[in-house]
């Protein structure tokens, strides 16, 4: 199957006064049409930078190496006008805090009119009809069309963001912690709306989150990031049933859920990305670290239907590998 999105040896570094922050290191990652993939990891693992890199919305001091292919075209090589077209029209965005994307001085109508007419040559009336339909699909009544962002609750703002992301019928939605600031009931509502629309329009979803529960509930595949690299990637069912990487194992065990009988954690703290530990960046916290771990970065190799970057699993590289 042709990949909708693919990154090839993607690295994103930030040059700062305190040194170079290696936020994303050599990431090879693909997403098929219509697929929902969760990108998970803890704060500072590079997952948000990766999402921003795909959208080409990084700060100017970011250095990007490698390729990002969307529908077969390298985004970095596109002229700015083309890129703007892809972003917003072919790729929709949803952020954690809708207020960073909504202009407090513009009504919801203004937001939609501007967005739609930037991308489509339509009359105001037609733009309005498109907007009202998109808003109705996420449960925002037409009477609120002329309201300002501050007149909505957090959940409703996020619904508006979803409507804006979907109004141009994109092929891919990138959602960066879309429900993190919402309560659990509203989180459930938002995820349901997103899932319904995804099914209806056959959208692919890249869900960036620290919440493994919502990945289990919404995604087909999951990629686990640690210190700027993908350490394990594969079908959600397989990885939740039998995580291979010791970090994935530790992360899954540390989730506190209703059936939790005893607490579990990973020793130490997530590393900084200026001077990450040598070799496998997880080795200082890893209960199973052995002699090769601090020496060189383990490659992400295929293993029983998934990919894993850990020397414990480097013995039978050929074994049943299907994911490339």
């Amino acid at each position: 199957m042709e990949n909708l999105l693919e990154t090839r040896s993607l690295s994103i570094h930030y040059r700062m006064r305190r040194g170079t922050v290696r936020a994303v290191e050599n990431v090879n990652f693909a997403l098929a049409r219509g697929e929902a993939v969760g990108l998970v990891g803890e704060s500072g693992c590079g997952k948000s930078t990766l999402a921003k890199g795909i959208l080409e919305v990084l700060p100017r001091y970011a250095e990007v190496k490698g390729e990002i292919l969307f529908e077969g075209r390298d985004l970095a090589s596109l002229p700015p006008t083309e890129l703007r077209k892809v972003r917003g029209e072919r790729i929709g965005l949803i952020f954690q805090d809708p207020m960073t994307r909504l202009d407090p001085l513009m009504t919801i109508e203004d937001h939609f009119t501007e967005l739609i007419r930037q991308h489509r040559e339509v009359e105001k009336d037609e733009a309005k009809a498109m907007a009202l339909k998109a808003l109705a699909a996420v449960g925002i009544p037409p009477s609120r069309f002329r309201n300002y962002p501050h007149e909505f609750s957090g959940g409703m703002r996020q619904r508006i963001m979803i409507a804006m992301a979907l109004v141009l019928e994109p092929k891919l939605i990138i959602a960066d912690e879309p429900t993190t600031s919402l309560d659990v009931i509203v989180e459930g509502q938002i995820l349901r709306v997103l899932e319904e629309l995804r099914q209806r329009y056959g959208l692919a979803l890249l869900l960036v989150t620290h919440n493994l529960g919502i990945v289990a509930e919404t995604c087909d595949r999951v990629a686990v990031m640690y210190a700027g690299r993908i350490v394990e990637e594969g079908p959600v069912r397989d990885i939740f049933r039998e995580p291979l990487h010791p970090y994935t194992q530790g992360l899954l065990h540390s989730v506190i859920h209703l059936d939790t009988k005893e607490l579990s954690s990973i020793p130490g703290y997530p590393p900084g990305l200026v001077r990450p530990p040598s070799g496998c960046a997880f080795h200082p916290r890893c209960p199973e670290a052995f002699e090769p771990c601090p020496k060189a970065v383990p490659a992400l190799v295929p293993k029983v239907g998934r990919r894993v970057a850990c020397y414990l699993h480097h013995d039978d590289v050929e074994g049943g590998a299907t994911v490339g």
Partner: protein
């Protein structure tokens, strides 16, 4: 039973700032009813979990107990003495016995103060040390106890040099340094990474055992509360909806709100994906909470007598219009007019006829009510023609009161015998 904290009928109302014009208009001052009549006891040695969504008033309740905010009404008794009306000067000595751990350790610590100075600070405020140097042995011992070791290394560090989990240990050490008996822990792990949360919770449990502490554990996370707490109270719009032994509440939740919260928690197991039954909408404004049972507009188990009022009808009609966007909206707007122009008078809502006159309006509204289902429409008493419009009357509700059901306090009319 020995209660360390005992609260009776506590209300905390915050006046809403109003502009000049609205102050001239009738209606009197408006208040956010953050805590709206809460009674609860916290027993010595227990972990009481106060669980609720943002906007439920749980944080305000925690702060009111510590007298960080002023109660508007009701009584707070701490270790046997009524502290509800103490002046700030009189409250201060009590803070040695009652402390707080905040949610965001980055915001809770002064970025220019070293870890050592921050932990020593309460000792100086309470005149237990005059110089930071005098406090140092004490501070180092406490740092060691909360896992900031080697303590000497951390002592001179600034908050910016520490991770989130380490900062929360500093905040906990600062709360513990005065040897309190009661700690309000307000979402102490919510901002921390999953892989370090468990260790902070273990530290809290450890300190509790060693120092005979009592905790009020405030959280939105029912899973963490289940693991940690002896008893829990579920809070919604300033009121306790359900309270009981944690094990019993989780095994058999009574209140529809408790059930909804439990059902909404994501399960980290892709094999157990199920369709959730979620309440509609979001937590409403605490300035003007829904009548009678404040959960009734969202409640999946609501019945006729829960508290349906005219604005519920208007909200229904507004929401209905989202379904009419693809057809029928123009007619709806023509016949019903702008919904905010409907007039509310007690349990009656009056629509003024526009379009083709009151007869069409009457028929249209009857049609809507006839095809709708649910408790709101069971509560419709009648629709009738008036001079220039149509009025819709709702039946009165059953007044809600707290009842005990299976050793559980429940605020829900489903459990009231009529």
């Amino acid at each position: 039973m020995d209660n360390i904290v005992s609260i009776e009928g506590l209300k905390v109302y915050f006046a809403v700032q109003k502009n000049f014009l609205s102050r001239l208009l009738p209606g009197g001052p408006k208040y956010v009813r953050a805590v709206d009549g809460v009674s609860l006891d916290i027993r010595r040695g227990e972990i009481y979990g106060l669980v609720g969504e943002s906007g439920s008033g749980k944080t305000t309740l925690g702060r009111a107990i510590l007298r960080l905010v002023k109660p508007s009404e009701g009584k707070i008794v701490f270790e046997g003495s009524d502290i509800s009306h103490l002046k700030e000067r009189e409250v201060r000595p009590l803070r040695r016995r009652m402390q707080i751990v905040f949610q965001d350790p980055h915001a809770a610590l002064n970025p220019a103060m070293t870890v050592g100075a921050a932990i020593a600070h309460p000792l100086m405020i309470h005149n237990q040390a005059t110089k930071e140097q005098d406090a140092k042995p004490n501070v180092l011992r406490m740092m060691d106890e909360v896992g900031l070791n080697p303590a000497e290394d951390f002592y001179h560090k600034l908050p910016s040099e520490l991770s989130g989990g380490q900062l929360q240990r500093v905040v906990i050490a600062r709360a513990m340094i005065l040897n309190p008996s009661f700690i309000v822990a307000d979402e102490p792990v919510s901002m921390l990474d999953m892989s370090v949360r468990a260790r902070i919770l273990e530290l809290l449990l450890d300190l509790k055992r060693r120092h005979n502490l009592t905790y009020l554990f405030i959280t939105h996370d029912l899973a963490t509360a289940k693991f940690l707490c002896n008893r829990i109270g579920i809070m919604y719009l300033g009121k306790i909806m359900e309270e009981g032994q944690a094990s019993e509440v989780y095994a058999d939740p009574k209140h529809p709100y408790t059930k909804a919260l439990l059902g909404a928690i994501p399960i980290p197991d892709p094999e157990r994906r199920t369709a959730k039954s979620l309440p509609r909408g979001e937590i409403p404004d605490a300035i003007n909470p829904p009548a009678n049972c404040c959960f009734h507009p969202r409640c999946p188990a609501a019945i006729e007598g829960c508290g349906w009022e005219p604005r519920d009808v208007l909200n229904y009609l507004e929401e209905r219009r989202t379904r009419l966007v693809t057809g029928g909206l123009d007619k709806d707007v023509r016949v019903l007019g702008e919904l905010k122009r409907a007039r509310i008078d007690g349990q009656t809502v009056r629509f003024r006829a526009s379009g083709d006159g009151p007869a069409e309006l009457l028929e249209y509204l009857r049609g809507i009510v006839a095809e709708a289902h649910g408790p709101l429409f069971d509560a419709v008493e009648g629709i009738s023609l008036e001079d220039d419009g149509v009025s819709l009357r709702l039946k009165p509700w059953t007044d809600i009161k707290e009842v005990i059901s299976d050793r559980r306090r429940v605020l829900c009319i489903l459990f009231q015998s009529t």
